[in-house]
């Protein structure tokens, strides 16, 4: 696969974290990498963000956990995961075989749990950054409760930051009135980067049985349906913070990813698209390379944040 690599610079910097290209996998959509390893050349990814990790294993929510909605899907998996210790012991060694930055997404029901998980991962070798999930809509405690309040978001960020030397990315929820306010708050608290958006809370009803499609009643909407909302929020946040922003939400194609980059996202995460095409992130990367070639950019950083004022008027 090395024959078609261009001489163009695709590498981007997220604080101290240098990525060979700006396309990563979104947490919860790519497992711990092993699920896709047989089919996808993982060393081509910009980074992998693993499924959210908590201190103890979590069983997750009862099924049904997913339902498709027009141009999207709702999920209420409920952060099922093996727990941070099992991850380090059983899943991380697989990932460290590859030349691939590993970003561990972390979750806690309390600030103390976030800190503890961050400390444990900081001791492990092979983790390159933490993504702090203060935005999961599908668990009763923690998650979104932290992400919806600027002071609580800042508190988690500050405490996690103090507990680790790893770069800290804070992942925001769109289920708030003013996402830029939350973004400013976590930046002030020391976040090295911000990723957004997590899923948008939604619901779907089976009219024959008159029951919610999801056992959890509500779930998080992802997929192309949310892309315009995600893009608008990424754009809003970029106006207000100076730390790097990672854009995600409904990115299915290179065109989608390019919109986020032009708006100013330093990198993108590909999520739900992997459920349809296992190699979606790689396809998107190829599409970005083609665009750079067609538009004669030598360096992707020349493209990032080049949104011009005004709409399509001519």
């Amino acid at each position: 696969m090395t024959i078609n690599q261009t001489h163009r610079n695709l590498s981007v910097e997220i604080g101290r974290l240098r990525l060979r290209n700006p396309v990563m996998t979104a947490s919860g959509t790519f497992g711990y990498g092993e699920e896709y390893g047989p089919y996808v050349d993982l060393s081509r990814l910009g980074a992998i963000v693993v499924k959210g990790l908590s201190l103890k294993p979590r069983m997750g929510n009862p099924p049904p956990r997913i339902v498709e909605t027009p141009c999207g899907m709702l999920n209420a998996v409920g952060l099922q995961n093996v727990g941070v210790d099992a991850f380090i012991r059983e899943n991380l060694p697989f990932l460290t075989q590859f030349d691939l930055p590993v970003i561990a997404n972390i979750f806690g029901e309390s600030v103390e749990e976030y800190v503890k998980v961050a400390e444990i991962l900081s001791q492990a070798s092979g983790v390159h950054a933490l993504e702090v999930n203060i935005s999961c809509p599908n668990v009763k405690k923690g998650g979104i409760a932290f992400g919806a309040n600027p002071d609580m978001a800042a508190d988690v960020t500050r405490r996690v930051k103090a507990s680790t030397d790893l770069p800290v990315i804070v992942k925001l929820t769109p289920n708030v009135t003013d996402i830029a306010e939350i973004a400013e708050s976590v930046e002030a608290a020391g976040a090295d980067a911000i990723s957004l958006i997590n899923t948008i809370t939604g619901m779907s009803v089976d009219i024959e049985r008159r029951v919610p499609h999801l056992r959890n009643i509500t779930g998080g909407l992802s997929g192309p349906a949310i892309k315009p909302v995600a893009l608008r929020m990424v754009w809003q946040v970029i106006q207000r913070v100076s730390v790097p922003v990672i854009g995600l939400g409904g990115i299915m194609t290179a065109r989608d990813a390019l919109e986020f980059l032009i708006v100013g996202a330093r990198a993108v995460q590909v999520g739900t698209a992997h459920f349809i095409h296992p190699h979606a992130a790689i396809d998107i990367l190829k599409g970005i390379e083609d665009y750079l070639e067609q538009h004669q950019f030598d360096d992707i950083n020349q493209l990032i944040g080049t949104l011009k004022p005004g709409g399509e008027t001519c």
Binding site: M1, G28, T29, F30, G31, E35, Y36, P38, Y39, V40, D41, S43, K51, M59, G60, N61, P62, P63, P64, R65, I66, V67, E68, P70, C71, G72, M73, N75, V77, Q80, R215, G223, P224, T272, H274, F275, I276, H277, P278, H279
Partner: protein, 280 residues
């Protein structure tokens, strides 16, 4: 780096309605498509429908190998938007196929008695298994008894294709339109007493209510039983954790397994019914 191929483009060869709402689709695939085993499934993704995002999982009903191509068959029922759109596909349409996926039925060649139990569309993986047992491995000739249930005789559309493969088919219908009037588990219960436990394997697929009745029946008969389960899926590869099924965990606890990756074939005695039966 050489990676295994899992995503294929197939061409619809036929997509026939066998009875109202039940269709049999054949899809042509390249010869390099991995040979599937009975119990495995594919995800079929409609290429031209941007609003229908996810693939839909289907048990493999049959497969035929030709010199330069493979013909994959699925038997399905229209239950929602996805399957409705699938039912409209014309000959020549391209679809994306992810697969073959999942853990197949385990076949132990020393087993002398094989019992197949299928209800409704559960016939799909069971038919493939029957064909595999009869044609795939010629030196292995177990005695096969087939218990096949349906709401009505009309649902047994492919019976004529099954009869040459098995002499011992026990048909049961809910409405008395054919064979035994009642659930498949009823004639099975009578026959179970005569099966040598150590030498018998039951393979089953069907609606949750049927599987649950079978599980109840097997509480008194310690015959091993593998069952193919279903759940809504997104990725089919074990990553999204959408297709969770509650099974017995270690120390008598419960845990969720993935139907797509840990299954779809499970030991019937591992399934916890408080949640698995929710759809009934």
């Amino acid at each position: 780096m050489n990676k295994k191929r899992v995503l294929w483009v197939g061409k619809v060869l036929s997509n026939r309605e066998m009875m109202k709402g039940y269709l049999l689709m054949s899809v042509r695939l390249p010869r390099t498509f991995d040979a599937p085993l009975p119990g495995q499934f594919v995800m079929i993704h409609l290429r031209d429908r941007k609003d229908i995002l996810l693939g839909r999982p289907f048990s493999i009903y049959g497969i035929q190998y030709h010199k330069s191509r493979v013909i994959l068959e699925i038997f399905y029922r229209v239950v929602g938007e996805g399957t409705y759109s699938l039912s409209l596909l014309k000959r020549g349409t391209e679809v994306e196929i992810l697969g073959p996926l999942g853990r197949p039925f385990e076949v132990n060649r020393r087993i002398k008695n094989i019992v197949l139990v299928a209800g409704g569309l559960g016939i799909a993986p069971i038919r493939f298994l029957l064909e595999y047992l009869k044609k795939g491995i010629s030196e292995f000739q177990p005695r096969i008894r087939f218990y096949m249930g349906a709401k009505t005789a009309g649902e047994l559309v492919e019976l004529d294709r099954l009869e040459p493969l098995c002499e011992d088919i026990n048909v049961c219908t809910d409405d008395c339109s054919m064979g035994y009037h009642g659930f498949v588990t009823e004639p099975l219960e009578k026959d179970l007493k005569s099966f040598p436990i150590a030498d018998t394997m039951i393979y089953a697929c069907g609606p949750a209510a049927m599987i649950r009745r079978l599980a109840g029946l097997l509480e008194d008969h310690p015959v091993p039983c593998q069952v193919s389960m279903e759940e809504r899926m997104a990725c089919g590869l074990g990553a999204c954790l959408g297709c969770a099924i509650a099974v017995k965990g270690q120390n008598g606890g419960r845990q969720y397994k993935r139907v797509c990756k840990d299954g779809p074939v499970f030991d019937i005695r591992d399934i916890l019914w408080d949640e698995a039966s929710k759809e009934e």
